[in-house]
């Protein structure tokens, strides 16, 4: 079985920036793949995401909890147990994910979402 990978699907260049940030912090440069929806209709985005996923397994991280990135990812993951989708990607969840890829996509997705949620803090004066 192939190693679990993360595919980040985002607007503009956000996904690539997150991949670069994870690599800079962890030194892990091959755990994540970036996909941008720039210039894509739904079919083109689906083709990009599918190419990035390859044979799977993978967790698809999308930026917003709605819109073309999410709908494209969910369409691809429909009926596939080797894929899971997490919306609302942030750097903290990716940092946790790249070190915990020895589980199935569903468990990895739940863990990453939990880590990402716990990382959100509010500091006020």
């Amino acid at each position: 079985m192939s190693e679990l990978r993360g595919v980040i699907v985002s607007h503009a260049a956000l996904a690539q920036a997150l991949v670069s940030a994870v690599a800079a912090i962890t030194g892990l440069g091959d755990a994540l793949v970036a996909v941008s929806n720039e210039g894509c209709d739904e079919a083109q985005l689906a083709a990009r995401v599918s190419a990035a996923v390859g044979a799977g397994p993978a967790v698809l991280f999308v930026d917003l909890p709605g819109g073309s990135c999410l709908t494209g990812a969910v369409r691809l993951a429909r009926g596939r147990s080797d894929l899971a989708v997490v919306a609302g990607v942030n750097l903290a969840m990716l940092l946790d994910f790249v070190f915990h890829r020895d589980v199935g996509p569903a468990d990895a997705a739940r863990r990453a979402a939990d880590a990402g949620g716990r990382a959100i803090k509010v500091a006020v004066a």
Binding site: H11, N37, G39, C40, D41, E42, A43, Q44, L64, P65, G66, G67, S68, L70, T71, V74, R75, R78
Partner: protein, 157 residues
């Protein structure tokens, strides 16, 4: 308030629509006119996933949209009507005189289309279709986000 934007966008419901246009127009309902989506509960659930609960989504076939357009135009709330292609919007214009302005918000590259704007690719036939709408008095402009300049049809057809 009624329908504030009649938009052609092949990504249908996405960030530019919900946030980019939805926020400044204070949009409270979205109408997605698409015969395929209208017939698929799964597709409708998918599009609902990303929309805030305070924003109502209506899924309509072309025939239903023509029938219900007067009611939407009389709604106190602001709305956006979306189609995924020119042909669907043209059918709506053919069936109702209430569509006076059409916003071309995103038609992306596909075989046979050429770039007219960064976010608008058209076949010659699609360009002709838009000109036909304009010839019948519909104001057709391209504009991806509200802060951009509305581009007149003559500049991209």
């Amino acid at each position: 308030m009624s329908i504030r934007l009649f938009r052609i966008d092949d990504r249908l419901i996405h960030g530019q629509v919900v946030v980019g246009w939805g926020q400044p127009l204070d949009v409270r309902f979205l109408v997605l006119v698409d015969d395929e989506v209208r017939d698929s509960d799964w597709e409708q659930d998918l599009y609902r996933m990303g929309v805030p609960p305070e924003l109502e989504i209506v899924f309509a076939s072309i025939a239903e949209a023509i029938d219900r357009l007067p009611r939407w135009q009389g709604d106190d709330r602001a709305g956006i009507l979306l189609t995924g292609d020119i042909e669907t919007m043209a059918s709506l214009c053919n069936g109702s005189s209430l569509v006076r302005q059409v916003n071309v918000g995103g038609i992306h590259h596909r075989s046979g289309r050429t770039e007219r704007l960064r976010y608008v690719y058209l076949t010659d036939q699609e360009a002709r279709r838009l000109k036909e709408l304009a010839a019948r008095g519909v104001d057709v402009t391209a504009q991806d986000v509200p802060t951009a300049r509305p581009v007149p049809l003559a500049e991209f057809s």
